[in-house]
């Protein structure tokens, strides 16, 4: 029996954390993720969960404490946004390279400067090479569902990698919307107890965590991370299938919306996908063959699956809520283009940057992008390979 509720994205993630009842949660507040540890601290104070909450003095310490707890053998997580994540930078790599299955509830926010509290993906996209799993949400429902699946994926013995559960700052974190929640008992039996094979506080089997690695061994640990990331592909799909059995909600690497027969496709991550779907319905009513690929899993990157799903499209707009400042497009643009190239795609692809620092993107913006895609396909000419959408004129 699912429970019909209305919650903000932050409330939904905090509710999932209560149901998971992890062992340890260190945290330091930063907008717009502050509410997550705030709600969790309330649950703990009210006896609704018994997680050890550690208030720390910075995000460097919150991730350090999470790493320490996870190494000790505890199920641990923290939450942050933007510059908070930037301050965790060193520990992000420590967590991944030590193969610690901890979680980070990330509420995506622009990095400074200029200082800005609103949504874009520059925080998590900047950490795309840190060795973390990354899963993104369109709305509060998906943020909740992804959080519930996080530890099952991350703790799987073939994976053992840290996982980032991302949602869009303010747009979903502070928006109250309808949601269906699972019962506590259903979540508890789905998530299960964490029983690590090796952990620091096991006197029967002493181990070292985080020792120095000389050149003779360093590269092998990197290969181990890469193997784990590859293994995560199947695990993510398996856990999604199990989750569907308890929730009725289906997840994969990505969602295809009206994509099967689409000539013109948009590829996007996060909350703007919902806005794009409204544009698609309006254009489909006019007979336009438009579709969407909403990427859920960015790490591991499902390159072959994306290329296969887009193989029939004439033109594609890859949408980045983050600029790489490479002069060569955004992170999603670069990786999807590579995937298309490796699959010998003949589609014409453009890479548009949108929504930086919370700049709104509307249904009309998506209609305009589809119309540009149609022109590109008809003329065979790409005039604006990399463009900013919604700039002030």
């Amino acid at each position: 029996m699912s429970i019909r509720e209305r919650l903000s994205g932050n409330e939904a993630v905090a509710f999932a954390i209560r149901q998971i009842n992890p062992d340890v949660m260190p945290a330091f507040p930063i907008t717009p993720s502050t509410e997550i540890p705030q709600y969790v601290a309330n649950y703990i104070a009210n006896g609704k969960m018994d997680t050890e909450f550690i208030p720390v003095e910075s995000e460097h310490s919150s991730m350090s404490a999470t790493v320490g707890a996870s190494a000790a053998g505890a199920r641990a997580l923290t939450a942050t946004s933007s510059c908070g994540m930037a301050l965790m930078w060193e520990e992000l790599y420590v967590a991944a390279s030590n193969r610690l299955p901890l979680a980070l509830a990330l509420v995506n926010r622009a990095l400074s400067g200029p200082i800005n509290i609103n949504c874009d993906h520059s925080d998590s996209m900047g950490a795309r090479d840190s060795g973390w799993l990354q899963i993104y949400a369109e709305n509060n429902q998906e943020a909740y569902d992804n959080m519930l699946q996080a530890f099952r994926i991350s703790e799987h013995k073939d994976v053992r990698l840290p996982i980032m559960i991302c949602q869009d700052g303010f747009i979903t974190s502070h928006a109250v919307e309808n949601i269906e929640l699972l019962e506590d008992s259903v979540v508890r039996s789905f998530v299960g107890e964490y029983e690590p094979e090796n952990y620091l506080l096991n006197p029967e089997q002493p181990i070292a965590v985080g020792p120095y690695a000389v050149s003779n061994y360093y590269m092998e640990t990197k290969m181990g991370q890469r193997t784990a990331m590859n293994n995560a592909r199947q695990v993510i799909l398996d856990i999604a299938k199990e989750f569907e059995a308890i929730s009725g909600r289906r997840y994969g690497f990505f969602e295809e919306y009206q994509l099967a027969d689409a000539d013109y496709a948009i590829l996007i991550i996060g909350s703007a996908a919902g806005t794009c779907k409204d544009a698609i319905d309006a254009l489909r009513a006019e007979g336009k063959k438009v579709g969407l690929l909403k990427l859920r899993v960015f790490r591991p990157f499902p390159a072959e699956e994306i290329a296969a799903a887009l193989s029939h499209c004439k033109s594609i707009a890859i949408m980045d809520r983050c600029d790489s400042f490479s002069g060569n497009g955004g992170p999603l643009g670069a990786e999807v283009s590579q995937a298309l190239y490796n699959a010998h795609s003949t589609a014409l692809a453009v890479n548009y940057i949108y929504g930086l620092g919370g700049r709104d993107i509307r249904v009309e913006d998506f209609e305009d992008i589809y119309s540009r895609l149609e022109t590109i396909a008809e003329t065979g000419q790409v005039t604006d390979q990399y463009d900013y959408i919604g700039l002030r004129k």
Binding site: R6, I117, I171, A175, N178, T275, K277, V363
Partner: protein, 190 residues
């Protein structure tokens, strides 16, 4: 196509415009609707103009952009009429609801020729009469329900009473005053 009502709230930080939008989402959800209630943050400080939004629909809501052509606008603080273009994009088949102590005729010149319905409410008078203090958001919430008719007034009062009982579990003395503020608003809104 589904029917979606779109509402934009204008207030100042600290006055409860965001809370009113979230409460409206809350109560509409309880009457079985699909809802969105969300704020648009500028600088976070007391007194700065803030905007909040509601979408209320009989079908799931997917769009995640702000609202540019609302059916309804609620202005919680009349001093905003001079600094914020409150009727921007407001549909002429809709309405604007303004919290003001002034008569409607005095407000009209500030509305840039808006041709839709204009409603006023003296939330200060109602709030002082029922709560003894000035909290504009309960009267404004009731005014929005009365004008937009997104739900029956009876159902609204029933759900709000339950909501106040929960919210003010430790301050039950303010429940009656808040309920009176809602009921008085239904009679007073013009």
């Amino acid at each position: 196509m589904s029917q979606t009502v779109e509402i934009r709230w204008h207030g100042r930080g600290g006055q409860g415009a965001k809370t009113a939008a979230l409460l409206l989402a809350d109560v509409a959800f309880k009457t079985g609707m699909h809802v969105q209630g969300f704020p648009e943050y500028g600088p976070e400080r007391m007194g700065a103009p803030i905007t909040a939004y509601n979408r209320i629909s009989d079908a799931p809501i997917r769009v995640h952009s702000n609202i540019y052509t609302p059916q309804y606008v609620a202005v919680v603080d009349e001093t905003l009429l001079e600094s914020v273009d409150v009727t921007n994009g407001l549909r002429e088949d809709g309405a604007i609801i303004i919290n003001t102590t002034q008569p409607k005729e005095a407000i009209l010149p500030h509305l840039k020729g808006y041709n839709g319905r204009v409603h006023t409410l003296d939330a200060k008078k109602i709030s002082l009469a029922t709560l003894g203090k000035y909290y504009p958001n309960s009267p404004m919430l009731a005014a929005v329900v009365a004008i937009t008719r997104v739900m029956e007034q009876e159902a609204f009062l029933r759900e709000m009473e339950l909501s106040f009982q929960h919210k003010f579990a430790k301050k039950p003395e303010v429940i009656h005053g808040n309920m009176e503020a809602l009921k008085m608003t239904f009679k007073e809104v013009q």
